[in-house]
């Protein structure tokens, strides 16, 4: 006998015809699991040899975040108790899953560990005397599982797939938990660091207030101390208020180094929101706020960095390289708008986004810019917002019915006449 669990339920999971066994004493021996039911003075045993696979214990609702997300509430009253699901094989070639629901406050994980140990030890193989299993097996009172079933069968078919699936669930749940634990650890550490910083700041403050007539030198060293705190990245909200400039300066330089490559790859311009996501993803857990990012960007004017913050008339903010030229973009838009199809039907921001290989929001900004330059003009209709190459300047005011026999307007007329 290895381990005892005072109060467990035994539930067949796949075969609803089998009545569950409640309130048993579960004993784990080297050969079998014995369920002793005191109320009815009966007992059942499950030979370890017939166990194909024991699943790790889990608590349906409290423990496995994935499962609790996806499974509807369990009908079982014992759903909040930890359970160990066991896949057993039955002769001739069936398998069932039963669940051992631990309703008492025992350490399930320890029990599970022992169970695994017992199965791996394969004591029944070592025992030469093939004693038939005592008591009836769990399922349907079928013939006792033979000892020669001890060789673990490879699980194939639906059962195998189900098991694989189950294992994937379990490990995903485990991962999630680990991840959250890491995060919690970080959070608690952050809190400690904050407290530390705050404490040091308080000390500095009390020092200065205690010696209000302290000379400049002392004030300077106090400032140094604060700068030191800031430079190692410990920024408590209060100190950030008093001397936050350094934090943003460093952030600003780091950001400038970081964004140069992705911005160049994106064609010289990127929306600020995209940069925010990219930058925070690169930082991992030490996320910065949008305000910090904006401040860092606005500090670029003071430094010699290859990127700059630009605000379009519409309010959209982008980061672009200083070498990025609008003329080049205009040239591309112009040639796009002069294609026969675009001459007749205009271009939408998404057309331009597709051709220029940039985000639609940015493409719209470029189009609006080109409109401002007089390159394009707009057409607002129930069909949507489209841009056309600007023909207004091509039309001779003195002679509106006799267009020139060349030029863009002429091309447009011949196309339009053909189309209508």
């Amino acid at each position: 006998e290895r381990q005892l669990l005072p109060l467990v339920d035994l539930e067949p999971e796949e075969n609803p015809r089998l009545a569950p066994l409640r309130g048993c004493l579960l004993a784990l021996t080297s050969h079998r699991l014995v369920f002793l039911h005191e109320a009815s003075l009966s007992a059942r045993a499950l030979p370890l040899a017939s166990i194909v696979h024991p699943y790790p214990p889990h608590r349906r609702h409290n423990h496995n975040p994935l499962r609790s997300l996806f499974s509807s509430s369990s009908s079982s009253s014992s759903s909040h108790h930890p359970r160990i699901r066991i896949q057993i094989s039955l002769p001739p070639s069936r398998s069932e899953v039963v669940a051992v629901v631990v309703t008492c406050k025992a350490d399930v994980d320890v029990f599970y560990g022992r169970l695994l140990e017992a199965i791996r030890a394969r004591a029944w193989e070592a025992a030469a005397a093939a004693a038939p299993a005592g008591g009836a097996p769990v399922a349907e009172g079928a013939a006792p599982a033979e000892e020669d079933l001890a060789i673990r069968m490879p699980v194939v078919g639906v059962a195998g797939i189900l098991r694989k699936e189950q294992e994937t669930w379990e490990s995903a749940g485990q991962n999630l938990q680990d991840a959250f634990q890491d995060l919690n650890a970080l959070m608690s550490k952050a809190k400690e660091m904050m407290e530390l910083a705050e404490k040091m700041r308080q000390k500095l403050l009390t020092n200065s207030s205690a010696q209000s007539n302290s000379n400049d030198e002392e004030m300077g060293s106090k400032q140094d101390m604060q700068d030191l705190l800031l430079s190692v990245g410990i920024v408590s909200p209060v100190t950030k208020e008093t001397a936050g400039a350094l934090y943003h300066q460093q952030l600003s330089r780091q950001l400038a180094d970081f964004v140069r490559v992705p911005v160049e790859r994106a064609g010289g311009m990127m929306a600020l929101v995209d940069v925010y996501c990219l930058f925070n993803r690169a930082r991992g857990t030490e996320l910065i706020s949008p305000e910090d990012l904006l401040q860092a960007c606005s500090l670029w004017e003071k430094f010699d960095v290859p990127v700059m913050l630009r605000k379009f008339d519409s309010g959209v903010k982008v980061i672009q390289t200083k070498t990025h030229s609008d003329d080049e973009v205009f040239a591309r838009i112009s040639s796009l708008a002069q294609k026969p199809d675009a001459l007749l039907k205009g271009i939408s921001p998404s057309d331009a986004a597709f051709t220029l290989g940039i985000a639609p929001a940015l493409a719209k900004e470029h189009l609006l810019n080109a409109e401002n330059k007089g390159l394009l003009c707009r057409d607002v209709s129930p069909d949507g917002f489209r841009f056309y190459i600007n023909l207004f300047n091509e039309i001779d005011l003195q002679n509106i019915h006799l267009p020139k026999a060349h030029g863009l307007y002429h091309t447009w007329i011949s196309l339009a006449t053909a189309a209508h």
Partner: protein, 177 residues
């Protein structure tokens, strides 16, 4: 108000941005000019004097390309004509507009030239508007208000005298060429 066949619409009438009020200043200036020209041309050819913003006006929509002017756009284009003295708001709420494809001064000169050429020294207002003599000229079907203003301008210059008949219908005018 059907568009008559003898008015040929310019090509840019099928250019969709022509029907959207352009926000960029230079582009809009050019657009407004094109609209002014077209409205004057059209009214002259159709002998139309009044454009009402709330009624359909053939120029203000193009079913072929499924575009039409917004109320704001119509107002902008007509206001541009008004500011050049080529149109006048009839009502205070700017819903009706009198189009002067000839300014009152130009009308006065036109009438004077016509009278000189035809030796028509004494006539009635109604004869000018629908008489045989003026048939086929710009004066045929002239807006009564416009005609009266032109004549009064001539009267001020001492080139004509308006005299009243027994009813409003037979007001007469005597030109002193």
């Amino acid at each position: 108000m059907q568009r008559t066949v003898d008015f040929k619409l310019p090509h840019f009438f099928n250019y969709p941005p022509y029907f959207t009020l352009q926000p960029v200043r230079e582009t809009r200036e050019k657009q407004v000019q094109l609209w002014k020209e077209l409205i004057l041309d059209y009214c002259r050819s159709q002998k139309m004097y009044i454009i009402s913003l709330e009624e359909d006006f053939p120029l203000f929509s193009n079913p072929k390309i499924e575009r039409s002017l917004s109320y704001e756009a119509k107002e902008v284009f007509l206001a541009a004509l008004v500011s050049e003295g080529r149109a006048e708001w009839i009502d205070k709420s700017h819903k009706k507009c009198l189009i002067l494809w000839l300014r009152i001064q130009d009308w006065a000169n036109y009438i004077l030239d016509f009278v000189k050429e035809n030796g028509l020294e004494v006539t009635t207002i109604e004869d000018i508007r629908s008489g045989i003599e003026t048939h086929g000229t710009e004066l045929a079907g002239i807006d009564r208000g416009v005609l009266m203003r032109a004549l009064r301008l001539l009267e001020q210059k001492g080139k004509a005298v308006i005299f009243k008949g027994s009813s409003a219908d037979d007001e007469g005018v005597k030109f002193s060429v």
